[in-house]
Symmetry: C2
Subunit: 316 residues, 2 copies
């Protein structure tokens, strides 16, 4: 059976995975998921990207937000306001149950990968969800004229409304890929860089020793999907971050970042005019609709991505 690996951040990757699982057997797909947004709050171990992928593949994600569960309630957060507690990161009641579970299992000595598998099984998810590493890796951003802050401080508390001039991934150089991560990359017939933030979702995956090397070795089977369309990120600050860190805030900038380890880049029809420039960077530009506004469109994007790599998928 041909196997596919998806290098994943949160919402964009989750939509892509959901689409891909409609055209590929779910159990032939492995998602290697970013953990550098993970953090502790209220003593709880929170893994936003893993959870977004989980809820999305469980067909349980809140369609309004792209994260959290549908039918979510906020009774705990509401009561937390009584104590003037930290409510800036909203944790729904249903979502909290998952954080309680993960925190307890980690305290008992389980790895993040083991807990992720247990949670995934509880939701009867067939896609293989793998945190990129079991080690703590934490994104830190340098805010101009201020200093370093944590990712969730940047992303949620400040709504990414500050300019940054550096990003680093604390702990990455000491981390090792979770069991099965490198094997999945090496065995895959197709490796997709999901339409996630290149800097803070894909970046930390590449920062774990061994991952970038594995992608480079399998470059002819790696295709990336540009998260930037017409110079804008559909969600989040990827466009501004690229610009602030000195990259072109466009599919061309993405191509430049991904060229060392990707043979093809899926770009939106809106960016067709960039095709030649992208190809001149040594990465094949494949033009398709890339907006995943519903599941059938997400499946179409997944199909376009899979077909962009060499060898093309047979028997799908």
């Amino acid at each position: 059976m041909s196997k596919t690996v998806v290098m994943s951040g949160g919402v964009g990757a989750a939509k892509f995975l959901r689409g891909l699982s409609k055209i590929h057997p779910p159990d032939s797909i492995t998602a290697i998921i970013n953990v550098a947004d993970d953090f502790r709050l209220h003593g709880l171990a929170i893994s936003p990207d893993i959870d977004t992928v989980t809820y999305t593949l469980a067909e349980q994600v809140n369609p309004e937000t792209g994260w959290g569960q549908k039918g979510e309630t906020w009774r705990v957060m509401s009561e937390l306001e009584r104590y003037k507690g930290q409510t800036w990161f909203s944790l729904g009641d249903l979502d909290l149950a998952l954080h309680l579970y993960r925190t307890q299992r980690l305290a008992e000595g389980s790895t993040l990968a083991e807990v992720t598998k247990e949670v995934s099984a509880a939701w009867e998810i067939e896609v293989n969800l793998l945190p990129v590493t079991n080690h703590p890796v934490r994104t830190r951003l340098t805010v101009e004229g201020e200093g370093d802050i944590d990712f969730q401080d940047y992303f949620v508390a400040r709504q990414h409304d500050v300019a940054i001039n550096a990003v680093r991934f604390d702990g990455a150089s000491d981390a090792i890929p979770a069991p099965g991560v490198l094997e999945a990359i090496n065995e895959a017939s197709h490796i997709v860089i999901a339409p996630s933030n290149p800097i803070v979702s894909i970046g930390p995956l590449l920062a774990i020793p061994g991952i970038l090397e594995a992608l480079v070795q399998n470059k002819e089977r790696v295709v990336a999907v540009s998260p930037i369309i017409g110079g804008l990120a559909l969600k989040g600050p990827a466009d501004r971050m690229l610009s602030e860190l000195g990259h072109e805030p466009s599919a061309l900038g993405v191509a430049s970042l991904y060229q060392p380890f990707s043979s093809a880049l899926l770009i939106d029809t809106a960016d067709k005019h960039l095709s030649t420039k992208i190809s001149n960077l040594g990465i094949k530009a494949v033009v398709a609709n890339t907006v995943m506004s519903d599941i059938s469109k997400a499946a179409q994007v997944a199909l376009s991505a899979i077909n962009a790599t060499n060898p093309p998928l047979t028997g799908a």
Copy 2:
């Protein structure tokens, strides 16, 4: 203003404090509360006795159980069952908010006493609530033929349905009383040992270096309220524990335990026949109704306790 200290466990002490606060200015009362039932679950810092006292004085306690909030819901616990998480210790949604708050504040470096004061202020509680210590103290019980288990494993998971033959309080000998605890005892005109479990609620208070000594020094102002009526505990396993640990499971057994540091013991009218035996132990037996089935009866019990000590309260 005359000040009163109440050495407190959970439900029984909470009822007593609520009654006492109807006959004394609440801000003249200090509750020194057991922390040896505290534990971590799901990564959260849980302090059952402090919370029971808090909710009770906030007039918010669930009247059916004597602990937890009224109007409580169980959405998080219900979802936790999806993951086969640890639901043996039921944490309501409202209650969870308090645990999240405390855990976060402790992680930020606050002491348990500071957090307790913040929570108490949020509920506009005027009684001064003091954990006996900011240090971790943990009750461990030796189960016959099995070994040592944690308090909540004994009390909740096993519903105290196993025989024990020893109790110890890990960490107690290295703990120091929280700021204000010894001062409150030394300044009080009345010190009440609440009708709490002598072994696992009052016992751990006495195990903190300095507490027993302070009570002994102020013995003439210390009155205890027997939690055993007619040989039975109104709530919990106090009667059986006394028996299993070699004490008389009666007000007489309580008198024997408390005689070294109490000058009077309030016993129920049902135990009037024990008065002489108790007095022969060198502790004055005062007979009164001690069942706190409603707030006016709790106030009456509090009044009886206060009047049992010497000097009697003036101007109350």
